[in-house]
Amino acid sequence: MSSKVYGRPSSLNDKVFTYCPGCGHGIVHRLLAETLDEMEITGDTIGVAYVGCGAMLYDLFNIDFAFPLHGRAPAVATGIKRVRPEKIVFTYQGDGDLAAIGTTEIVHAASRGENLTTFFVNNGTYGMTGGQMAPTTLIGQKSSTCVDGRDADYHGRPIRMSEMLAQLDGVCYVERVTIDTPKHINDAKNAIKKAFVNQQEKKGFSMVEIISPCPIGWGYNPVDAYAHIKEEVLPFYSLGVFKDR
């Protein structure tokens, strides 16, 4: 007798992912769906999407989803979780959404210690709008709004959200992971699971930052984009647990 050992997680529907070749969102979606399956929380989870490429996850998951305005996901998630505290509520946000227009919302949701889980997919660019400079864009990195590369004096410096949020007393867990190797993908999945378990245990605000490639936005082929994570991105955005209590 043969048995199926690998397949599409049941938390995902049959719709085809429409992300660019080499995009990290597909991997992160898969890890999220596998975790929802394994924890058997699919039917008790409410997702809050965001404005950016990965936002299409609202249409790909077999869970209830709300679609907020740009940057406001933590405020919407707060409004949901406070009236439905027995449900698992998470936000899935990009770096433009969380680290630029939505900085206020994430800082204060985290500071209040809202019992929420945030997945912060950081690819250092505005993918959906065509590769503009993000708050997370590295010094020297080219984008359509810093065409000769980000200049610290002229464009300002990139922001490390995980390190910043870890300073807040309301935060129980912050970890930065990436998905450039199988080992790192496994680590990322463990972090995602831990962030959900924290919410089940009512420990407060958890965030997992996931460094993710955007080959199109970065101007690399997929293979080189993954190499770029190790060579250029991780030296600035170091992996690790910044808070765990």
């Binding site: 989803f65 709300a66 998630a77 949901i80 009236v83």
Partner: protein, 368 residues
């Protein structure tokens, strides 16, 4: 024994919301609506409900979005310039067909303006966000009516799955009057919406999400417009006073109508045929009722604490059928109703040039 109690406008709105089954309130301090937020702070937690003093007006309205999408009655309140911060999400709630109540306690403008009572929020209240949408705007003129319309706002928001605005001003919010509250509704007794996000256990997942294709968004807009037309037909509210035989009809909304009422009573005692028409819904505007109210009139006089926002609507709906005079004050100044009364007498005597003198006297010019 009377169950009436002396209540401040802000607190009456807050208590009415609690009694209407508001499960979650989110607010940010801004004068002149602070007692509303403070009343909620005092009572919501004790009732096992949600109160958050958010970090901004934006987070407050977006948290309202969240509690609404989760299926609960929810509210925020603000004033003046900060209402501008809420418009993005009010428009988005209308798009996503989410109920919610937003209280706008109007203060001075434009911009930061000042903390004093004006009616400069008239235009913004009807829809300050992007795209084609409408919201019902309820404008009370007494503390009792503020409480009643707040309760109604929750019903209308749910009935049409659209945000509803209660448009008060600083005067009403700070005024204390003897009022009676409606019955208390336990939020747990309200039926759960079939649209609410509750986790999809045992059913299909629900998506409160945008329409990304041209065809889908157009179809959605058409559906919304049909809904708005239905709202426009069914939800007009107004008050008429002595308009049947009125030679001049004063059109006024909100608190200045209280002064105007006194003027009408005094005019009638003097045998002067003065009437009053008060739109209670700013949107939908009670246009047919206005036309009915002015059918025997030779002139309309619009009084408002702004530069003529209501006047523009009145001129639009009366289509030049009769002259429309405007007089207003701004910045927190009040209309001098005795002066207005003496000038209305001039209009009745066929000498409307005196009206211009009134404008000049109070530092105003005739708008457009």
């Amino acid at each position: 024994m009377s169950t009436k109690q002396f209540t401040k406008g802000n607190e009456a709105i807050a208590e009415a919301a609690i009694r209407a089954g508001c499960m979650a309130y989110y607010g940010y301090p801004i004068t002149p609506q602070n007692e509303l937020t403070e009343y909620m702070a005092k009572h919501m937690q004790r009732l096992g409900r949600v109160f958050i003093q958010t970090e901004s007006e934006i987070t407050a309205i977006n948290a309202v979005f969240g509690s609404s999408v989760a299926g609960f009655r929810t509210m925020t309140s603000s004033a003046g310039t900060a209402m501008a911060l809420k418009q993005e999400c009010i428009s988005h709630m209308s798009y996503m067909e989410l109920p919610g109540v937003i209280v706008d306690v109007m203060r001075g403008g434009p911009g930061l303006g000042n903390i004093l009572s004006t009616q400069g929020g008239y235009n913004q209240s009807k829809g300050g966000g992007n795209g084609d949408y409408n919201v019902i705007v309820l404008a009370p003129n007494s503390v009792q009516e503020a409480a009643d319309l707040t309760a109604l706002a929750f019903d209308l928001a749910e009935k049409y799955r659209n945000p509803t605005i209660v448009l008060a001003d600083g005067t009403l919010a700070q005024m204390i009057e003897l009022i009676e509250f409606g019955p208390e509704i336990d939020p747990a007794s309200l039926p759960e919406s079939e649209e609410a996000l509750t986790g999809c256990h045992g059913r299909e997942p629900r998506k409160v999400a945008p329409k990304n294709s041209a065809m889908d968004l157009e179809a959605h807009n058409i559906r919304l417009q049909r809904k708005f037309h239905k709202m426009a037909d069914s939800e007009q509210r107004w008050e008429s006073l002595h308009t049947d035989d009125a030679e001049v009809v004063v059109v006024v909304f909100g608190t200045p109508s209280r002064m105007a009422c006194e003027m009408v009573y005094e005019a009638r005692e003097q045998g002067i045929k003065l009437g009053l028409f008060r739109p209670i819904t700013i949107w939908p505007f009670p246009a047919n009722a206005l036309l009915e109210a002015v059918k025997s009139a030779k002139a309309i006089v619009v009084l408002e604490h702004n530069t003529g926002m209501l006047t523009r609507d009145v001129r639009f709906f009366t289509q030049g059928k009769l002259p429309v005079y405007y007089h207003g004050r701004m910045g927190g100044c009040f209309i001098d109703i005795d002066e207005v009364f003496s000038k209305i007498k001039c209009i009745l005597n066929g000498n409307d040039s005196e009206w211009g003198a009134l404008n000049e006297q109070q530092g105003l010019w005739k708008t457009f």
